[in-house]
């Protein structure tokens, strides 16, 4: 079973890297980019076969390590 975790900065937390990307896009002539937020994707190969159990475990992984919930939020896809 595979899990994909998206980790993004919470709304309202300033993202200096996203801002830099937005500026760079502007320099390349891509007008109209009003905001860029940069996050990360973490893919996990899991031994689990039960989707609900896998999801519960990945939530625990996010809370304990994969995301810093002080500044980050996460979403989980299980497939």
């Amino acid at each position: 079973m595979k899990a994909r975790v998206h980790v993004m900065l919470k709304d309202g937390v300033l993202d200096p890297q996203g801002e830099a990307v937005r500026h760079a896009l502007g320099h390349l002539g891509f007008g109209g980019v009003e905001a860029v937020r940069q996050g990360k994707v973490i893919e996990l190969d899991l031994a689990a076969t039960d989707k609900a159990a896998a999801e519960k475990e990945v939530v625990a992984m996010c809370e304990k390590l994969l995301a810093n919930t002080v500044i980050e939020k996460y979403t989980i896809e299980i497939a």
């Binding site: 937390v13 300033l14 890297q17 304990k64 500044i71």
Partner: protein, 222 residues
């Protein structure tokens, strides 16, 4: 006084931190990240700067969950003293021993230079030797020193007088110019600037020596 200085893979200020304690008269015990407990009789834990675990995932994230990480959290939870400098500050916030988080510098640049700090409170063993309002010069050397905390958390820090140091000129975008913060019991300090790189004149300044002398006096009967 006994200080434990932790070494993670990628720590690079652990020796400097040990020398800071030793020159002030403390006994230093070096502790490896795979150790599961701190040596007996330790008065303070020093979490050094560097790039623990290559800064993978997030700065300090993996170190904060390492075997020794739990021992440090337990020690602080029992009222033990701890100081985390630079990467050590990032580790202590990732552990939840200190509030907030350290993000990429607003300029996106790694910054390495001496900076002037204002001591923001006298009320801690770390800052008492300077006194509130004093100015000290410590080097900074970081890419992720942009201190962030939610508005309620910031209000709590300010209201409880838990900002230890502020930048005289904000180099990295930190909210409220914050360079270092204290735990609620005022026994855990995290700071981005490096007092251990300013303990003798040959380093360009010795403002950090007073901090280590104050720590070396911990647990020593007056």
């Amino acid at each position: 006084m006994k200080a434990a200085v932790i070494t993670f893979p990628g720590s690079n200020c652990d020796r400097d931190l040990a020398v800071g304690f030793e020159k002030a008269g403390a006994e230093v015990i070096r502790v490896w990240h795979k150790d599961t407990e701190l040596p007996k009789g330790v008065d303070i834990v020093g979490v050094p700067g560097g790039f623990s675990y290559g800064d993978y995932l997030r700065c300090g994230a993996i170190a904060s969950r390492s075997p020794i990480g739990q021992a440090i959290a337990d020690f602080a939870g029992r009222g033990g003293y701890a100081i985390g400098i630079c990467n050590g500050f990032q580790i202590l916030t990732e552990m939840g021993l200190l509030p907030g988080a350290l993000m990429r510098n607003a300029s996106l640049k790694y910054i390495c230079k001496p900076v002037t700090l204002k001591v923001a409170t006298s009320d801690s063993v770390f800052t008492a030797p300077y006194g509130k309002g004093a100015e000290v010069v410590f080097p900074i050397a970081h890419h992720d020193g942009n201190y962030t905390i939610d508005p309620e958390g910031l209000k709590a820090l300010q209201g409880e007088d838990r900002v230890a140091f502020r930048y005289a000129q904000n180099p990295n975008g930190s909210v409220d110019d914050i360079a270092g913060v204290l735990s609620a019991n005022r026994r855990v300090l995290g700071m981005m600037p490096h007092p251990e790189r300013a303990i003798e004149d040959a380093q360009g300044g010795a403002d950090g020596a007073a901090l280590f002398r104050a720590l070396a006096a911990l647990g020593v009967e007056a």
